[in-house]
């Protein structure tokens, strides 16, 4: 088990290292120099030269990458070319909004997806309705869900605000409800379908027959011998969901005007603010890799057969 953990950790660090190299390298290769972006359209060549010097743009690539990486490891994500401020500072007020939104959506996905999937697998009539709903839900992109939710619940019914972020935990909760639903919807349907398939598969297995033959209550048969086992395939593919949440977050923040990492990334891309794009891309990729690593290790705990090779 320890060996597996160490292996995973090394793999994770390597992935992040190569990922950071790619992100930095991409910006380096981009046509249009950062100096021109910083100086604006009408700079003279001597002005450009001094900016290049300021930003260490004259150094060789690997030196600059190393400086950047060193900074990143010390919590310095570089300076925004556009705002002329440290990216870390620009992000500090935004990170929590994003985390709140993504965690909220993740909780909706886990609970809603598993419950709906279970019902779809166990209940005959209700199952048909849920399954049909999930097939449609799966195809609803977050931004389409966003506009429908805004138009129904914010504009017509006025239950929830259409934009901005709230104050305090419950204020946040109120403001984030529609965004979280928009972000969660298609992944909730995905998880639901997966759960349904996994539960159906486990229901047909022999261990269920054993439990039934021993007079175990149906409720316990489902939780101990069906759901418990079905969680393994569900978590195995949850990496795709995590990637979807990270990408969807960008869109949903934009749709609801939430001041988070995603909307900041969109701005940075529009303004060609390379340092900010690098920083946010790195954060998103790191989040994905780390969460996936945790899921992978968690899966080993769920499935004893994966913990160590049989001797």
């Amino acid at each position: 088990m320890v060996r597996v953990l160490v292996e995973r950790l090394v793999g994770l660090v390597l992935t992040l290292l190569v990922g950071s190299f790619l992100i930095y390298g991409a910006m380096y290769l981009a046509p249009g120099t950062p100096a021109a972006v910083v100086a604006g359209g009408h700079a003279t060549s001597s002005e450009l030269q001094s900016i290049r010097h300021q930003l260490h743009l004259n150094e060789p690539f690997f030196v600059r990458y190393w400086d950047w990486l060193d900074g990143v490891l010390h919590g310095n994500l570089g300076r925004s070319f556009v705002y002329r401020e440290p990216v870390t500072l620009l992000l500090s007020g935004r990170v929590m909004n994003t985390v709140f939104l993504v965690v909220f959506a993740a909780l909706l996905i886990i609970t809603g997806g598993v419950v709906l999937g279970l019902l779809a697998a166990l209940r005959r009539r209700l199952g048909i309705v849920i399954t049909a709903g999930m097939s449609v839900g799966l195809a609803v992109p977050s931004f389409v869900a966003a506009i429908v939710l805004i138009s129904v619940f914010a504009v017509d019914l006025k239950w929830f605000p259409a934009a901005s972020t709230g104050t305090g935990f419950f204020g946040q909760l109120h403001h984030m409800t529609l965004p979280a639903i928009a972000l969660a919807l298609s992944w909730l349907a995905f998880t639901g379908q997966l759960t349904k398939a996994a539960v159906r598969e486990e229901l047909a297995k022999d261990q269920v027959e054993t439990a039934q033959s021993r007079g175990i209550k149906p409720r316990h048969v489902v939780t101990r011998h069906v759901l418990r086992n079905a969680l393994i395939p569900i978590t195995t593919v949850s990496g795709i969901t995590v990637a979807g949440l990270i990408a969807g977050d960008v869109v949903v923040e934009q749709a609801f005007g939430i001041n988070g990492l995603g909307s900041f990334l969109v701005q940075a891309v529009e303004q060609k603010d390379f340092a900010s794009v690098q920083a946010v891309a790195l954060i998103l990729v790191t989040a994905f890799v780390v969460v996936n690593g945790i899921v992978d290790v968690g899966n080993r705990f769920l499935d004893p057969r994966l913990r160590e090779p049989v001797v």
């Binding site: 992935t15 190569v18 990922g19 790619l22 992100i23 991409a26 910006m27 290769l29 981009a30 046509p31 097939s135 449609v136 799966l138 195809a139 609803v140 992109p141 977050s142 931004f143 389409v144 506009i147 429908v148 805004i150 138009s151 504009v155 259409a162 379908q193 997966l194 398939a197 996994a198 598969e201 395939p233 593919v237 990496g239 795709i240 990637a243 979807g244 990270i246 990408a247 969807g248 960008v250 869109v251 934009q254 749709a255 990334l265 969109v266 940075a268 891309v269 529009e270 060609k272 390379f274 794009v277 891309a281 998103l284 990729v285 994905f288 890799v289 996936n292």
Partner: protein, 287 residues
């Protein structure tokens, strides 16, 4: 005659079912076919110029003149949706085409060559998995600017690992079958074993995987447009229409966003259904 048919049904119960096409495949396929036809014939069937603003006709509801209403500048929404179908479908088609071509070559080469090459390919694919498609597309836009090209190239790369992973395992399973070794020993060249045996055997899976990827690519590319990083106005795409229509929602005119949104959803449902049926409902294995 009737008895012969009955006897055949008894002996080969699936024979009749196989001949009758699945109605779901038929419906989804027909919808996609019509959509493609509409996109191709846009100049001839769109009732209005999609970019002609008529300020007097702003925000009109559904009428005989404007079947799906108009946007805040009075442009005919039906015409914009029809023209929008072109780039909204062309983009994902290119992505799937490139990703499938790349993924198939990599998968079959990995399965055939094996060893270090195989490991290298799967490491690179693992790495690419760490970049969500949309993030990769945004990096590409930051590098090369807005438009169709940068996101399409980025998403082609982002979808390649999904194709590669599934096809590689199928191809290497096929490669390990004795007949492949028999061909090889019999002097058949590697290239022709790959193209005549491995490729045809993974083809059904390839078809399924690219069909499912199409829906997903359509959504991601529409998201890029929605964020304003794709094709620039006034050219219509469905994703961008959802975003431009959003400002009218608060004013009580959700038509533009909703119509474009519904069209995206229905199209994706059609592709997903088609993919599911082709996969024979092996939902877990397909992942």
């Amino acid at each position: 005659m009737a008895t012969a048919a009955a006897a055949k049904e008894q002996l080969f119960p699936s024979a009749r079912r196989r001949r009758n096409l699945d109605p779901v495949i038929l419906a989804a396929g027909a919808f996609i076919g019509v959509l493609v036809l509409v996109a191709i014939l846009a100049p001839w069937i769109a009732p209005y110029n999609p970019n002609a603003a008529t300020i007097l006709a702003a925000n009109q509801g559904v009428s005989a003149a404007h079947w799906l209403g108009t946007d805040p500048t009075g442009r005919d929404l039906l015409s914009r949706l029809i023209w929008g179908a072109r780039l909204s479908l062309l983009g994902p088609a290119l992505i799937v085409l490139i990703a499938t071509a790349l993924g198939t070559v990599l998968a079959i080469a990995s399965a055939w060559i094996g060893g270090l090459f195989d490991q290298l390919v799967s490491r690179v694919m693992d790495l690419l998995f760490a970049f969500p498609g949309l993030v990769l597309a945004m990096i590409a836009v930051a590098m090369f600017g807005k438009g169709l090209v940068a996101p399409v190239v980025a998403l082609s790369i982002a979808y390649t690992p999904y194709i590669t992973r599934v096809l590689r395992s199928a191809a290497s399973r096929e490669r390990s079958l004795p007949y492949v070794a028999a061909c090889y020993v019999g002097g058949v060249s590697a290239r022709s074993i790959c193209s005549r045996h491995l490729l045809p055997n993974v083809f059904p899976l390839l078809l399924t995987q690219s069909t499912i990827s199409f829906g997903s690519a359509l959504v991601t590319l529409a998201a890029v447009s929605y964020l304003g990083l794709g094709i620039q106005p006034p050219t219509a795409t469905w994703g961008f229409m959802v975003s431009t229509g959003q400002s009218s929602i608060l004013a009580g005119h959700p038509a533009e966003s909703l119509e474009a949104g519904i069209l995206i959803v229905v199209t994706v449902v059609a592709f997903n259904l088609l993919g599911d049926r082709l996969a024979g409902r092996r939902s877990l294995q397909a992942l």
